[in-house]
């Protein structure tokens, strides 16, 4: 029973990951794209944990979700917001 639930969770996470990846490429508003990219990083961190790589998951959660978002928002505030 637990294995089936884990499989369902993994399938859901991977589906959300693909949806987020397509959305980042499609969205025209830069700030929205950055926020969707942050959620992509968060889902990726959970997937790393599911793949038994907890140290990579920590780095992904701190850098991929936190610092990358901050630097991209700082870059947007210096340039134009719309593509």
């Amino acid at each position: 029973m637990t294995e089936i639930l884990t499989e369902i969770l993994n399938a859901l996470l991977l589906t959300f990951l693909v949806i987020c990846a397509i959305a980042v490429a499609q969205i025209r508003d830069m700030l929205s794209a950055v926020i969707v990219f942050a959620s992509f990083g968060l889902i990726m961190a959970i997937i790393w944990q599911q793949l038994s790589a907890p140290d990579v998951a920590m780095v992904e959660a701190a850098l991929g979700t936190g610092v990358t978002t901050l630097l991209l928002i700082a870059a947007i505030s210096k340039t134009r917001r719309a593509e």
């Binding site: 140290d55 920590m58 780095v59 850098l63 610092v67 901050l70 630097l71 505030s77 210096k78």
Partner: protein, 149 residues
């Protein structure tokens, strides 16, 4: 100060100490549990960036200024290299651990694994201050060009 400002400030004031303790825990337990210098340093550095972002640059600079983080960045790299060279002086290869005679301690204890504990600590300082310096470089250039942040 608007209501949104107040929510962000109070939340970050509550959360930042816990993030910092978690970052230090991951750095110091680098040889025992998942994580290590890089992960813990990234978490600790992003907590100080959160302070500078949710308050303003002056409050962030009161925690750790641009010059201090630059010095810590160089100091972390220097400590890493010096730890490697101490092993050479003690008669091993560069960065060798037990062969150079670092005390091993008991496996599973916090103060064990000889040079790895020291190297992880320096690596954590280096990564944390690198992230803070990166943030200050981008934001302060923004102030110079006259744009608001």
């Amino acid at each position: 100060m608007t209501l949104e400002d107040q929510i962000v400030r109070i939340t970050s004031r509550l959360v930042v100490p816990f993030i910092q303790v978690y970052g230090i825990y991951i750095i110091l337990h680098g040889h025992l549990s998942p994580g290590g210098g890089f992960s813990g340093g990234a978490i600790f550095g992003s907590s100080l960036v959160l302070v500078a972002l949710s308050f303003n640059l002056e409050v962030g600079a009161k925690q750790i200024s641009h010059d201090t983080s630059s010095i810590l960045e160089s100091g972390g790299a220097l400590g890493f290299i010096l730890t490697g060279l101490v092993a050479v002086v003690l008669g091993g290869n560069f960065l060798s651990n037990q062969a150079a005679g670092f005390p091993m301690g008991e496996a599973g204890e916090l103060f064990s694994a000889g040079a790895i504990f020291i190297i992880t600590t320096f690596l954590g300082i280096k990564v944390a201050s690198t992230i803070i310096t990166l943030f200050y470089n981008i934001i302060e250039e923004e102030d110079k060009s006259g744009a608001s942040h």
